[in-house]
Subunit: 346 residues, 2 copies
């Protein structure tokens, strides 16, 4: 009596049709009940809901999406989820969309544009309403312009790709790094290294630009030997600071592309018997939860990750709502946090 299909084999999925039969109404009415339409009479609604319970019905969202041409699904592509900054950002983005009743699909592109492209293609095949992208290194402007041209709602988060023509939510990286660097200059440092980041990614360009700008403002010549590109890992920070300390005119301080590198620098200093904050000044970027706990506490530039997630979500939802609105760019101001790792007056 239950399950229409063949009596042999797998249990058939319970459908609207089954519910309709069971409750003695039409498919259309059942559909209205499930969508909480006010059109249907209270008594009918009760009967249908009772059938739902009785048959153990599971709504088929895929079928509904096919019909409505809307999926309420958002794809989120993250360049490197094992980086704690992006882990926090991902959680923030997810929370923000969840609050707006969207289902979120997360993928980790691991800095590989091909994987990112695959994911974007898959999400389009699933008819996602929109995409939030932290573009992996090397993402081409053309890829993104094509998305825009094809009418895919899209927002770039954290990292910008110039000329993509997409909405963007990010932080004011140049200003943040400039302030951090000027702080060190104010403490008397002249040989300041800049560790991590690169010019292939906007955040790298901007933070490295902020560093250069600060030195320029105070008439300090830039020694390219102290500007080191690198991965956002602790081991890069540790190895690099050890190498720089071995130079004949070593730096006395370092600003880092992010906190993870700064933690590495502090570990590296200890490995060679130097104490961060006393023998060498260190500044990070992001203000991860861990920064405050270190001994010495890490001076760093705080990005409001949760706010960025919410901003990105709002931009994307607006874009979905109104595909032809003018492009928007929101840049959040960071906050420089002074702790002990940058040392006192020297």
């Amino acid at each position: 009596m239950a399950g229409r299909g063949k009596s042999a084999g797998r249990p058939q999925r319970v459908t609207l049709h089954d519910l309709a039969d069971h409750a003695g109404v039409s498919r259309a009415t059942v559909s209205l009940v499930l969508r909480k339409s006010p059109l249907v009479a209270a008594k009918t609604r009760e009967a249908v809901l009772e059938s739902v319970r009785a048959l153990g019905y599971v709504y088929n969202r895929g079928a509904a999406n096919l019909r409505t041409q809307r999926s309420h699904t958002i794809g989120v592509s993250i360049n490197e989820i094992t980086n704690p900054y992006f882990t926090e950002l991902t959680a923030a983005i997810q929370r923000a969309f969840l609050k707006h009743g969207r289902v979120v699909f997360i993928a980790n592109s691991e800095e590989d544009p091909a994987r990112q492209d695959d994911f974007i293609a898959t999400m389009r095949e699933y008819n996602a309403d929109g995409l939030a992208i932290c573009p992996s290194r090397g993402t081409s402007r053309e890829t993104l312009r094509r998305l825009k041209k094809q009418g895919v709602a899209c927002v770039l988060v954290s990292r910008d790709i110039g000329g993509s023509g997409l909405d963007y939510a990010g932080h004011a990286n140049e200003a943040g790094m400039c302030e951090a660097t000027e702080h060190l200059i104010g403490l008397g440092h002249r040989r300041i290294a800049m560790l991590g980041g690169n010019d292939l990614v906007s955040t790298g360009r901007e933070r490295r630009g902020g560093y250069r700008k600060a030195l320029g403002l105070h008439g300090i010549a830039i020694d390219e030997a102290l500007v080191v590109e690198g991965e956002a890992t602790r081991s890069f920070g540790a190895a690099t600071v050890r190498r720089l300390l071995a130079l004949k005119d070593p730096p006395t301080a370092a600003v880092c592309f992010n906190d993870v590198i700064a933690f590495g620098v502090m570990l590296g200093l200890r490995q060679v018997g130097r104490e961060p904050g006393r023998d060498f000044a260190v500044i990070g970027y992001d203000d991860l939860a861990e920064a405050e706990l270190w001994v010495p506490g890490l001076s760093t530039v705080r990005n409001d990750t949760r706010m960025l997630g919410e901003t990105a979500a709002q931009l994307l939802l607006d874009r979905i709502e109104n595909p032809d609105a003018p492009v928007r760019r929101v840049v959040l101001q960071p906050k420089f946090v002074i702790r002990e790792s940058s040392g006192g007056q020297r």
Copy 2:
């Protein structure tokens, strides 16, 4: 000429129908081409693929799933993605499924069984082929049994829920923690604290059990004041070790539920002027990338995360293939790694 529908409004999606018209064949043939069927003649295939390019066709996976009753989609529910162990595990699981051509849906339940249930419900609504679950704290056995009874393919990863009747892939936590604790005992420690974990989660029960077992094996009485439940955070580790050191008979060593807590312990020791590895022995659990870099290097129990991800994926894929096979449990052996934080002979 392009796009069948109304000439006004949004661009219509290109469908198999459009491709068929454009290429002068039937819908069925186009479908065969897209699915790389060998049945179709080379010349026809070329023509269709040319139409795909010409019209900018995007495959509609939702429609296909509706028809085939298979989604090639896997839902992965993670209890806390900001914990780096789970971040790594998530990445490993994703990679493993990707290798098998599955699309992976990731959600962060943040230790909230309600969010986990929501996600599971959503995945069922999307007709996911299977679920990989790192159950959040407080997940009930009944929830999981119901899933099994309803024929949902499911594998538990890392954390076990007794009596769920589901496949499980995890690590031998008791053995790992027992070995670590015995190492400290061998070095002469008698007052050994156990920090973090709790009995609400299998990994906590097992690791704490391993600690108790080791003490028992060597006739050391357990001082419950030294066994502290807690969150897997650095701040818990730091605060707790400071508190324990203030006891009148303080511990001389600590084994930690995981590396993150152990890092916190090392930071906490420094905050009160003690040097980990020299003044106090510390052992972690997980062997995160960071463990090796610390000064002193963190002694810890290594879990092979990538292997766990692959194992879980294989169990789930087998289960999907063969729903009625007997339940399997795979437990991977960890490896104890000795570095400097556990100190030498005292």
